[in-house]
Amino acid sequence: MSELVMSLLGYVIDPELLERYGARMLEGLGITIKLVALSYFLGLLLGWMLALGRMSGNKAVQLPCRAYIYFFRGSPLLAQLFLLYYGLGSLRGFWQDVGLWWFFRDAWYCSVLAFTLNTAAYQAEIFRGSLLAIPKGQYEACRALGLSRFTTMVRVVLPQSMLVALGPLGNELILMIKASAIASLVTVYDVMGVARLAFSRSFDFEVYLWAAVLYLIIVEIIRRALKRIEARLSRHVVP
C-alpha cells in the first residue's frame, strides 16, 4: 500500500529535486513561521498602543499615530525594509557609537523590526475599527458601576472587540505569511524565497507547487483555528 502511494507520489514529486531542496524548503517554512509569529505578536502590542493613540482626544498623541499609520500602510513593505536595512545600515559609524550595530548588522533582526513596524500599522486600524464597534452603552454601564478604565478595557471591551477584530486579524496574518517572501531582499529566505531560489537553479515549476501546497495548508490551518477561537469568543451569541 505504502509502495503504491510512493510510486504515485513519484509522478507528482521529483525525488531528486526533493532531495536537493526539500530540507531547505522546510527550513524556509521554519523561517516563515518564526518571522511571522514574532513580528505579528510584537506588532499586536504596538498596534494596540497605536490604536489607542489614534483614538486619543489629545492632538499631540493622535497626529503622530496617524502619520505613522499612514506611512506604513501607504508605502510598500519592500521599500520600507530596504530603507531600514540598507539605508540605516549604511550609517555603520553612528550605530557603532550608540552601541546598536549588533542589531542593524543582523538581517534577521532588521526583518523582524520592519515587519513589526509594518503590521503594527495595519493591526492598529483593525483594532480601531473593532473598538468603534463596541456600543457606547457598554462604556456607560462600566462607568455607572464605577469600574476603572483598566478593568473596563480588559474585562469588558477587549473580549467583545476581539470578536469583531478576529476576521481582519486573520486576513492580516495570511497576508504577512505571504509577505515574508520579501525578506529575501535582505538574505532571509522563507518558503517562497527558497522556492524562487530553487526555481532559479532547476527551472522546474514543481518547487512552486510545493510552496503553494505549503501555503494552502497553512492558510487552511489558520482558517480552522480562527473558526475555533471565534466559536469560543462567541459562546454568548445565540445562533
Binding site: P135, G137, Q138, E140, A141, R143, A144, L145, G146, L147, S148, T151, R155, V156, P159, Q160, L163, L233, R235, H236, V237, V238
Partner: protein, 266 residues
C-alpha cells in the same frame, strides 16, 4: 415565590404625600446646572433637591432632556455650568471624594447594557470584585442574594442573549444592586420591553421602592408613576416645568405643555 408575593411580606412605606418640606437629609443637590451639546442648550438652570428615600419620576416629551438630566447626575455627561453635590461632595470635580460619592449611585439603562460575553453571575460580580475588592466567594454570595430578589436566581449561568428582555432588565437591576447603591437612576427601564414583560420589571421596581432606596426614574408608565412616585418632575426643552406630587400632576397639570403631553400619552 414571585416578586409580587414577596412584596406583601415587606413593610410598605407607601407614597408619602407629606414628603415635601420634610426633615430627611438632602442627598442630591443641584444648583444652576446648564448643559450644552455643542451649541445646543440641553438643560437650562436646573435646581433640584432630592432627599433620602425619595422616589421621583421624570417625564416629558422626547428630547426634553430627561436622560441628559439623570446622566449628568452620575457624570456620564459633563456639565458646563452649576454644581451637583451628592452626599455633600461636589461630583463635578473629578477628585477622590467625588468618586466615592458616585459609588453610591447606580444606574439602570433602557437597553440594559449587560455585558454580553459574561454570564449573569459574572455580570453581577465583576464590579464588586474589581471596585470593592470583594473575594469571589463573597461577591457571588451577595450576587445570588440580589438575583434572588429580582427572581433571577435560577438563571445565573445563562448569557444575557439567552434571556428575554424582561429577564435582562431584572439582571441589570440586580447588577446595580450588587454595588449597594443608596441612589438608583432609571432611564426608561421598560421602554425597550414587550408589553408582557413590562409588568415583571415594574414589580421589581415597586419592591425596590419599598426598601427605602432613593430612586429617580424616567418613565412613560403613568400607572406606575402614580403608584410609587412621591414627586413628578415634568421637563420640556431643558426646563423643569412642574415639580409636584403625582396626584396633583395627573389631576390638574399646571402648564399647558404638560396637559398636551398627558393627552398624547394616556
Amino acid at each position: 415565590m414571585s416578586v409580587t408575593d414577596a412584596l406583601a411580606t415587606e413593610q410598605n412605606h407607601g407614597p408619602r404625600a407629606d414628603a415635601h418640606g420634610d426633615d430627611r437629609p438632602v442627598v442630591i443637590q443641584i444648583r444652576g446646572m446648564n448643559k450644552w451639546y455643542g451649541s445646543y442648550h440641553a438643560l437650562h438652570d436646573i435646581d433640584l433637591d432630592v432627599r433620602q428615600g425619595e422616589r421621583i419620576i421624570l417625564c416629558g416629551p422626547s428630547g426634553s432632556g430627561k436622560s441628559t438630566l439623570i446622566r449628568c447626575i452620575n457624570q456620564l455627561e459633563q456639565i458646563e455650568q452649576g454644581s451637583i453635590h451628592i452626599h455633600g461632595a461636589d461630583v463635578t470635580r473629578q477628585d477622590k471624594p467625588a468618586q466615592v460619592a458616585l459609588r453610591d449611585v447606580g444606574m439602570v439603562f433602557q437597553h440594559f447594557n449587560l455585558f454580553p460575553h459574561m454570564t449573569v453571575l459574572d455580570n453581577c460580580t465583576l464590579a464588586p470584585m474589581s471596585v470593592k475588592g470583594m473575594s469571589r466567594r463573597q461577591a457571588e454570595e451577595s450576587a445570588r442574594e440580589r438575583l434572588e430578589k429580582v427572581g433571577m436566581a435560577h438563571l445565573t449561568g445563562q448569557f444575557p442573549t439567552q434571556l428575554s428582555g424582561g429577564q435582562q432588565q431584572r439582571v441589570a437591576i440586580a447588577r446595580t444592586l450588587c454595588m449597594d447603591p443608596k441612589i438608583i437612576l432609571f432611564d426608561e427601564p421598560t421602554a425597550a420591553l414587550d408589553p408582557e414583560m413590562v409588568k415583571e420589571v415594574l414589580d421589581v421596581m415597586v419592591r425596590l421602592a419599598n426598601t427605602g432606596i432613593t430612586m429617580l426614574c424616567v418613565t412613560h408608565e403613568m400607572g406606575f408613576a402614580r403608584q410609587m412616585a412621591e414627586r413628578v418632575l415634568f421637563l420640556d426643552q431643558g426646563v423643569i416645568l412642574e415639580d409636584t406630587p403625582p396626584q396633583d400632576f395627573f389631576a390638574a397639570p399646571r402648564t399647558e405643555r404638560a396637559r398636551a403631553f398627558l393627552k398624547q400619552i394616556l
